[in-house]
Point group: C2
Chain length 261, copies 2
């Protein structure tokens, strides 16, 4: 197994650019996964792997060994890197010791069907990752992100997504209004407006588009107008706000509950 020790190594510089530069990721159509959990999820989803890098220390862990020895596709390069170098391409303070360069999955365009989560200007990486993880768990198949959202395939968002990415069809940089123009079903948004209906009094059984906006501002007026139904999450505690990912979890799982009855 080839060993990289220098930060001037071209492959290492390429990996670090993928981690640090959203533009380079977009140009290359590739990203870096950190840790065994994400790598296993991507592998199970049939994602194309270009290379896996490990530290000597991590190679002594059974979970890492199993990935390296059992699960790597034939064309995937395997490299050893020093701990210091691995730390520089990991989004966390205590890296797992294994990372992988993958092709960002490009699904062929599909018609909008089933449920869709549309996000406008969600810029916090942790929130975006949590939203993707929640959508995947709730069985929402498609997520559409406006150009103002954080990059879905950045290492930080991947980390918060915990593998949810690989169960979703994710469209980035989308014109949300355009996407909605071909959609015939309900378009739902949470709101505090007078016309908003209590979430639990709303029939959520039909396939729907859910709109959620940025943390600070919420949905733009233009998008809120596109909602065919505004819903209000009742909050008896006196505060009138939820984190956007918490609000989405409440809505998507209430929809799930109604469909199971």
């Amino acid at each position: 197994m080839k060993l990289i020790q220098s930060r001037d190594n071209p492959t290492f510089k390429h990996l670090r650019a993928l981690v640090e530069e959203s533009r380079y990721r977009r140009e290359q159509g590739r990203t870096v996964l950190d840790g065994a959990h994400l790598i296993k999820a991507a592998s199970a989803a049939g994602v194309v792997f270009h290379r896996v890098v490990v530290t000597a220390k991590a190679m002594r862990q059974q979970e890492v060994q199993r990935i390296v020895e059992g699960g790597l596709p034939s064309r995937c390069e395997l490299l050893e890197v020093s701990e210091t170098l691995l730390r520089q391409i990991s989004p966390v303070d205590t890296p797992a010791g294994i990372a992988a360069e993958i092709e960002i999955p490009r699904h062929s365009p599909v018609n909008v069907c089933g449920d869709v989560l549309m996000l406008e200007a969600v810029q916090d990486a942790g929130n975006l990752g949590t939203l993707l993880r929640t959508a995947a768990a709730a069985g929402v198949g498609r997520v559409v992100l406006s150009a103002q959202c954080a990059q879905a395939w950045s290492p930080k968002v991947l980390r918060a997504g915990m593998g949810g990415h690989f169960a979703l069809h994710i469209t980035e940089g989308a014109d949300l209004t355009g996407e909605l123009s071909t959609w015939q079903g309900p378009v739902l948004a949470t709101a505090l407006t007078i016309d908003a209906v209590d979430l639990y009094a709303t029939d959520l059984r039909a396939p729907a588009v859910w709109l959620f906006g940025s943390e600070g501002q919420g949905l733009s007026a233009a998008m809120l107008q596109r909602a065919t139904q505004r819903v209000r999450i009742p909050m008896p505690g006196g505060t009138e706000s939820l984190n956007v990912a918490a609000a989405a979890a409440v809505c998507l799982f209430e929809q799930l509950r109604q469909r199971r009855i």
Copy 2:
């Protein structure tokens, strides 16, 4: 209004220590709030303010003016600081230009009654803040944190809590087992074990203690054993995981829904 320009000013050093050092916060029993939203929430809750610091630029904002001119308690000191200094005591990259030093609210010990959210080793500041915000919104009155949790009153957790802190009775550094020993009602925990009952098939109407554990590990075996009922959130999407704050939002709002019928 007194102006602080030097980072060697004793008051400024005190503020920075409150922001940066959890131990100093604990010793002093005080913390720092960043931004008008948190300051207004604390003020409305009757929290004791020691001082408010503003930049000259922020003083031109109507919202900040209204706080400074209308709402400050009589014993609260008002200081002007330079932009550079304010940035050093703000948890965000683009500070709001106003911060306040407050007394961490110390509620007198109350018996456990109503709903309680118990958190074991939740170390991520964003997750902890979101959990507090969700609990406050759902009307859960009390939150109990194990010693391994992040500090609830740190600037980062306060920021993610968005004022939820001030609607809650928060106990930190608690012995969760001890707290549970006097509790007669249901103790609920999410789990993937065989004996876990579907969340939506569980009667959640009685006042309950909800247990949630750390992101990576979940609840310890010891705490999971203390649950009188293990519940499973159905996840048709094929992934078997939710962010802890998303999971808590789903559970606490399902409880709310059941009680409203």
